[in-house]
């Protein structure tokens, strides 16, 4: 058993962290948040592409670097830590993964465009208030054409290609690949609680679409994305805790550092415990994902539930530990708070994944007899 990253992966991490500390300081995140016309940081995105980040886990035959998902999760953690304002998750954890898992040889050609940064993805499954559901999906696919409205969609405005959930003539819901640069597609931006990632509405009117994978693809895709996003959450949660801890050492009240009071100590100790629990579950998730284990549904749900809880708690209580200054626009705490919420919702809420976890453990138990 070897339950940690290897030396190469640790080196990858240290390079990634150095790069993001230099090229993605909080001021860059803030610039995207404050500029309503800016959906993501195009300059940073271009730099990530040049560094080979979008190509990392794409097979060499499709123009990628052929590295593993375990290598990819190292980048995910660092991107989460830096709150990177780029459509990485939508493109790499969702679109590229869908193509790798279920793409036809022709569809897989798009992987080269992801590696070279020409292609940006998005996952369009939601159709309004409430949790996205296969059963309630109204979007329709017939005769190669897709009709329906999807909203909200993360990275809708940045994306070149969408994975869209729609029902076929038999009423069976599955995913379709749709190029967004066509006359049958119109998009409009939506204001969002985390403007460091763009959000939009996409209307499909007889848009040209093609099926990708079967009805099992969405769940498999969400499991994989849940694991990789859990690493982003762990990165963000650790950074939130570090900022709160640093502040608690420097800020004095009643003659001593506020971090010497147990009310603050215990809050931050709890955040530390949550973060470790989330990290360990995420490690298990990435092992299950990379090994193609049958335990993936359980491991992915556990990673997601723990990741949501850890980042939300750390971001929320980091503001509290900072006091009034933490509530100001100028402080960075709200950037973490916003991202924690965004990631909480991105591929289904923690509530939904608690439900998935119970079902997965139940199924695993029955399988074991």
């Amino acid at each position: 058993m070897n339950f940690d990253f290897n030396e190469d992966q640790e080196m990858l991490r240290s390079e990634a962290r150095k790069f993001l500390e230099a090229r993605c300081p909080a001021s860059k995140v803030r610039a995207v948040v404050e500029d309503s016309g800016k959906g993501y940081d195009t300059e940073l995105w271009q730099e990530l592409v040049e560094q080979g980040w979008t190509a990392l886990a794409i097979p060499e035959e499709f123009g990628g670097l052929g590295m593993s998902r375990t290598d990819l999760c190292v980048l995910a953690e660092e991107l989460g830590r830096a709150l990177a304002p780029v459509p990485f998750a939508s493109t790499v954890y969702l679109l590229a993964e869908a193509l790798k898992i279920a793409g036809t040889p022709q569809q897989k050609e798009k992987l080269a465009q992801i590696a070279s940064g020409e292609c940006i993805g998005c996952l369009a499954i939601s159709e309004g208030p409430g949790e996205a559901s296969r059963d309630r999906t109204e979007a329709r696919f017939e005769d190669g054409r897709l009709n329906g409205t999807k909203h909200p969609v993360i990275d809708a405005m940045a994306a070149t290609d969408a994975l869209v959930l729609a029902k076929d003539a038999q009423g069976k819901a599955s995913l379709y690949l749709v190029a967004l640069d066509q006359s049958g597609v119109s998009r409009s931006a939506l204001e969002t609680i985390d403007p460091s990632r763009d959000l939009g509405r996409i209307v499909f009117e007889n848009a040209i679409a093609e099926p990708i994978g079967d009805h099992t693809l969405l769940d498999r895709l969400l499991d994989g994305a849940a694991v990789l996003l859990a690493f982003e959450q762990v990165g963000g949660a650790d950074r939130s805790l570090e900022l709160a801890t640093d502040f608690a050492k420097e800020r004095f009240a009643f003659g001593r550092a506020i971090g010497s009071y147990q009310a603050i100590k215990h809050k931050l100790a709890d955040a530390y415990v949550n973060n470790q629990i989330a990290r360990s579950n995420a490690y298990y998730g990435i092992w299950a994902l990379d090994a193609g284990s049958r335990e993936l549904p359980t491991a992915a749900a556990a990673a997601r539930v723990a990741g949501c809880h850890a980042f939300w708690y750390a971001a929320r209580e980091s503001i509290q530990a900072h006091g009034g200054i933490g509530f100001t626009w100028e402080a960075d705490q709200h950037l973490f708070y916003r991202r924690a919420l965004q990631l909480d919702i991105a591929v289904g809420s923690a509530r939904q994944w608690q439900e998935r976890l119970y079902s997965a453990v139940e199924a695993q138990t029955m399988e074991a007899g």
């Binding site: 058993m1 339950f3 971090g259 470790q276 490690y283 539930v305």
Partner: protein
């Protein structure tokens, strides 16, 4: 990231299983009275020692097997799968005897270590006192020098296993005029020495696992001192370091049994397994208890790479004790008024869940309370400053 055994680990696991299969008739269980269980466990411990499966990580010269932490875990996992309890020897072999190995004379080690490894002699830890629990350095049991002996008087409390122990590790105050942490000295003592009086404590769970131990002018030879006079605090810290690494073992009913129980527990029109609130609570419990287990694998990986385990090892007991308490409550509560029955016939899992529910408050306190563990994480891991210590540098005799 790889969960499967390495070839060496697989080979060791096979060896462990062959040994356990060959000795199936001698495997101890949880049944029987305490003296009966103790006798079986002693016999089993000796069989393990002869075969190199006791104190697996210790050097061979002390009766160990010179093995790795991973081997110890593999053996224990396989042993636990067969229902062998981890009882009676944990405090001695986990905490007291390693301290003896570090601080005692060569002759003493020759005499004491092997019998402990073989289960012939059992050790207990005499640290806590009525006025010194979380603030352990506040102990008051006195040791006064008299020729080649020390005369010890005072009271210890919460001493697990004192009633069946042969030896104890006892921390005393030898200089009340020094500041709190400075005037302490550690000894080992025969639990049968004249003046040692062991009285059982009846726990809220109904069990009797620990004791009060009174020292009425007990004479301890200076040769049984461990470490320097006034150096007892450092010796105690050395002993307790081992305790935290042990903490966080799996507790309570396993996930598959909870799921099976939920499917058979009527709630509303369906069962507990259909109840959203229960499913969510189960998920949170699962993530946290499984998270502790997985964190232990990270610690083991660090150890097998020759690194010191990281601070994440400290989260185990803090999480598992609380989760045990809350899951037990949830399961008992879900039985409706039937949950009030506590016996070994009608109550679920032979009354185990009720037992856990009544036992959990003790786990949250023993071996570092939840609050002390949070302080330790905050101060030693996150580097937050200590609170005010009004007794710092003050002679102990003048503190409150």
């Amino acid at each position: 990231m790889d969960f499967s055994d390495t070839p060496h680990e697989a080979e060791y696991r096979a060896k462990a299983n062959a040994f356990l299969d060959a000795n199936a008739a001698d495997l101890p269980s949880l049944s029987g009275s305490e003296p009966q269980r103790l006798e079986k466990q002693r016999k089993w411990q000796a069989i393990k020692a002869d075969a190199g499966f006791a104190c697996i990580t210790w050097p061979k010269e002390w009766g160990g097997a010179g093995g790795t932490a991973m081997e110890r875990v593999i053996f224990r996992d396989e042993e636990a799968k067969r229902g062998v309890p981890d009882a009676f020897f944990g405090i001695g072999l986990g905490l007291c005897v390693p301290t003896v190995i570090k601080y005692a004379s060569e002759e003493q080690k020759e005499e004491m270590v092997r019998p402990a490894v073989r289960g012939e002699q059992i050790w207990c830890q005499l640290f806590s006192e009525p006025a010194a629990g979380s603030d352990l350095a506040g102990i008051r049991t006195k040791a006064v020098r008299d020729g080649n002996d020390w005369v010890v008087s005072g009271q210890k409390v919460w001493t697990s296993g004192a009633h069946y122990s042969d030896w104890g590790l006892v921390i005393t105050r030898t200089d009340p005029e020094s500041p709190k942490h400075k005037g302490l000295t550690m000894f080992f003592v025969s639990m049968r020495a004249p003046g040692v009086d062991v009285r059982p404590i009846h726990q809220m769970s109904g069990g009797v696992e620990f004791n009060e131990v009174f020292f009425n002018d007990v004479r301890i030879p200076d040769s049984q001192r461990l470490g320097e006079i006034g150096g007892g605090w450092g010796v105690a810290i050395y002993a307790l370091m081992n305790e935290r690494v042990q903490g966080g073992k799996e507790r309570g009913v396993p996930a598959k049994d909870i799921i099976a129980l939920a499917s058979n527990t009527p709630v509303g029109e369906g069962t507990l397994a259909d109840d959203g609130a229960f499913r969510a609570a189960f998920a949170d419990w699962y993530v946290r208890t499984r998270g502790v287990q997985l964190t232990r694998y990270r610690t083991l990986t660090a150890m097998s790479r020759g690194q010191t385990p990281g601070p994440e090892a400290s989260i185990g007991k803090l999480v598992t004790a609380f989760e045990l308490q809350e899951m037990s409550r949830l399961l008992v509560e879900a039985q409706g008024s039937y949950g009030l029955i506590q016996d070994d016939i009608h109550a679920m899992f032979g009354g185990n869940v009720h037992h856990d529910l009544l036992h959990a408050p003790g786990i949250r306190i023993a071996g570092g309370t939840d609050e002390i563990l949070r302080n330790i994480i905050a101060e030693r891991v996150l580097g937050l400053p200590k609170g005010p210590q009004p007794d710092k540098g003050v002679p102990f005799s003048q503190t409150k």
